[in-house]
């Protein structure tokens, strides 16, 4: 064990959307003497390390993207790289629905979410990360067909907002961008923070924390990443304030590993995790289309969100993930995959309620385990969404598809009139389906009352004096949409509260 001589004012654990936003907010004080360090468990991959090779790039996810819930009903893709999920997302940028912000204020006491704070902060965020709608030249066939077909059915299609700059339209954003077009933490907040003197140590896996100490291991730098800046080994380091931003899987697990040191006994740690259960559906169009070029996501449908509990978004994935997303196996599956260059794709994004029994816990080795059961109502939502997506596919001109929950394995145009009887709740068996999720939220619930949450409305863990959380784990309930802007909103507030509480003298 090496005790680092440098002592920091603030250590941020995690360099994703939450951690990067905190670093960006704090960098103005580094010039005034504030010492800030970011510890990131993943490797440092810059744009030149991404190569759009599906096998190589699976390394930027925890366990190659193969992280399953305990019951194996749902797979989770969580990033493990500098920049966190902002390195692997598509750049879709949503503000949370007004109803969600209102609920957080009235039910959980997040009174700081005033209209003025929310609006001004989002305007700043969206300007900084270049959020905008895509120009027509970025709309590929999949997006165009989706829009035309949905509108033909009388469904309102909306434009997604994306945060990209100088995009080369390589198509597979989730493998990391080789030109750094995604204006996420990796490309914007972290370089700014580092330029202003925030320090970054990567491949630094945090084992545990105390009130003012962090114990971590620096592990070997993997291939195709930056070399380590410190020697491999075990370290302990001190800080006046610790900010946890390792994401929904890792932050609650780290707090549970550290319960003894932090003298915490809060039974809500890790509880109320909520996911966006996702099916990515594919169907074969009547001729070759070029969906692996252009931008994968341009449109979405939200008119079924309040009533039926789901969004539909356009999407398109690389061949390995597409093959996994198509249910089943064998000859028919293989024949469908041979038509990859004719495929349309629709992403179903459902939203689960936050429930006490859904949680992150740790195994004997201290590693995160996701104990999660999908709500029966969400299963019904998924069925409705699959039927709707199948209707859009056929309306667009697709000729065949394989979808979850169908009595008939291969659906053809002849089946388009009986989708309601073919796709049924009883046929949707999660053990057989490739259900997955991005956007995990909750686990370190923010609440104004200590008895009802894990962190207070400043982001500080109840029962500690200097340990904060600034990632999606503090969400009291589901945002129902891609959560990145919401994480940035809360992380901005939490950073400001840290400065006011602990470093008031540096605020001019």
């Amino acid at each position: 064990m090496t005790f680092m001589q440098n002592q920091y004012d603030i250590i941020i654990i995690g360099s994703g959307v939450g951690g990067g936003t905190v670093a960006d907010e704090l960098r103005q004080y580094v010039k005034k003497g504030l010492k800030v360090l970011i510890l990131e468990g993943g490797a440092y991959r810059k744009k030149e390390h991404f190569n759009q090779n599906e096998r190589d790039m699976s390394s930027i996810f925890f366990n190659k993207g193969a992280f399953f819930s305990k019951n194996m009903h749902i797979g989770l893709a969580a990033a493990k790289t500098v920049g966190g999920s902002s390195a692997v997302y598509t750049g879709v940028s949503f503000r949370p629905p007004a109803s969600v912000v209102q609920k957080w204020k009235t039910e959980f006491g997040l009174d700081f979410l005033t209209d003025e704070f929310v609006e001004n902060t989002f305007l700043d965020i969206e300007k900084k990360i270049n959020v905008h709608e895509l120009p027509d030249s970025f709309i590929n066939d999949n997006n165009r067909l989706f829009k035309q077909a949905a509108e033909k059915l009388g469904i309102t299609v909306k434009n997604l907002k994306i945060n990209i700059k100088n995009c080369q339209q390589q198509g597979f954003c989730n493998l990391g961008c080789t030109v750094g077009a995604k204006q996420g933490t990796l490309e914007v907040q972290l370089p700014d923070a580092i330029n202003d003197g925030v320090e970054l140590i990567y491949n630094a896996w945090v084992e545990s924390i105390g009130e003012n100490t962090v114990k971590f291991d620096i592990r070997e730098a993997p291939e195709m990443s930056e070399p380590n800046v410190e020697k491999e080994g075990s370290y302990e380091i001190g800080a006046k304030v610790i900010v946890l931003a390792g994401g929904v899987m890792q932050t609650p697990a780290l707090v549970q590993r550290s319960e003894h040191k932090l003298k915490l006994k809060n039974k809500l740690v890790g509880r109320y995790v909520t996911l966006h259960p996702v099916f990515n559906l594919n169907a074969v169009y009547q001729k070759t289309i070029t969906n692996y070029e252009g931008f994968p996501k341009a449109y979405y449908i939200d008119e079924f969100s309040d009533g039926e509990g789901y969004y539909l978004e356009t999407s398109f994935y690389y061949p390995g993930i597409t093959s996994k997303n198509i249910p089943g196996y064998g000859k028919i599956h293989s024949e469908i995959m041979k038509k990859y260059d004719q495929m349309m794709s629709i992403l179903i994004l459902s939203h689960d309620p936050s429930e006490y029994h859904n949680r992150i816990l740790i195994d004997k080795k201290g590693q995160a385990v996701l104990d999660y059961a999908i709500h029966p109502e969400v299963k019904k939502s998924l069925i409705k969404a699959i039927r709707k997506a199948a209707t859009i596919f056929f309306s667009a001109g697709c000729t065949e598809m394989i979808v979850p929950g169908s009595q008939k394995y291969l659906l053809t145009k002849m089946d388009s009139d009986r989708l309601y009887s073919l796709i049924t709740n009883s046929k949707l068996i999660f053990e057989q389906t490739p259900l997955s999720s991005a956007h995990p939220q909750g686990g370190m619930r923010m609440h104004k009352d200590a008895a009802s949450g894990v962190v207070d409305t400043n982001g500080k863990i109840w029962g500690t004096s200097s340990v904060y959380v600034a990632d999606a784990s503090v969400f009291p309930s589901s945002t129902k949409v891609n959560p990145y802007e919401t994480i940035m909103l809360l992380a901005t507030h939490i950073s400001r509260q840290i400065m006011k509480t602990h470093f008031q003298s540096l605020i001019s």
């Binding site: 090779n53 599906e54 096998r55 699976s58 390394s59 366990n63 190659k64 193969a66 399953f68 019951n71 194996m72 009903h73 797979g75 690389y318 061949p319 390995g320 993930i321 597409t322 093959s323 996994k324 196996y329 064998g330 000859k331 599956h333 293989s334 995959m337 590693q367 068996i429 999660f430 053990e431 057989q432 389906t433 490739p434």
Partner: protein, 112 residues
Amino acid sequence: MFSDSLKTRYLAIAEIIIPDIAENTALQIAFFTNFTIFFDSLDKDSSSKIELLIKVLSILAFFYQFKQIEKQSIEQRILFFDKIQHFPIAKIVAGFTGLRSLTLMSFYSMQD
């Protein structure tokens, strides 16, 4: 790393998931190389579970046909995995779905 016997049993399963590799030795070699790279980089817990699952599926297949899985015809193996889809132990069904995903990803992520 897979032992030879485990490799043989796994490939007998993989041929049902991806029929193309049953008919093309070169393709099968390339696929298994790619699969091994994926498999070796998984965490120890996941790779141990996959090895165990392959062994369990092989044993169940043996009791279904009273013949080693690698000696069963393609048709016999297809029938067996149809049964596995509805096996009463949910973790076996889910495990096979996970193995299916890893197998498909290993095949379709191969570079031309």
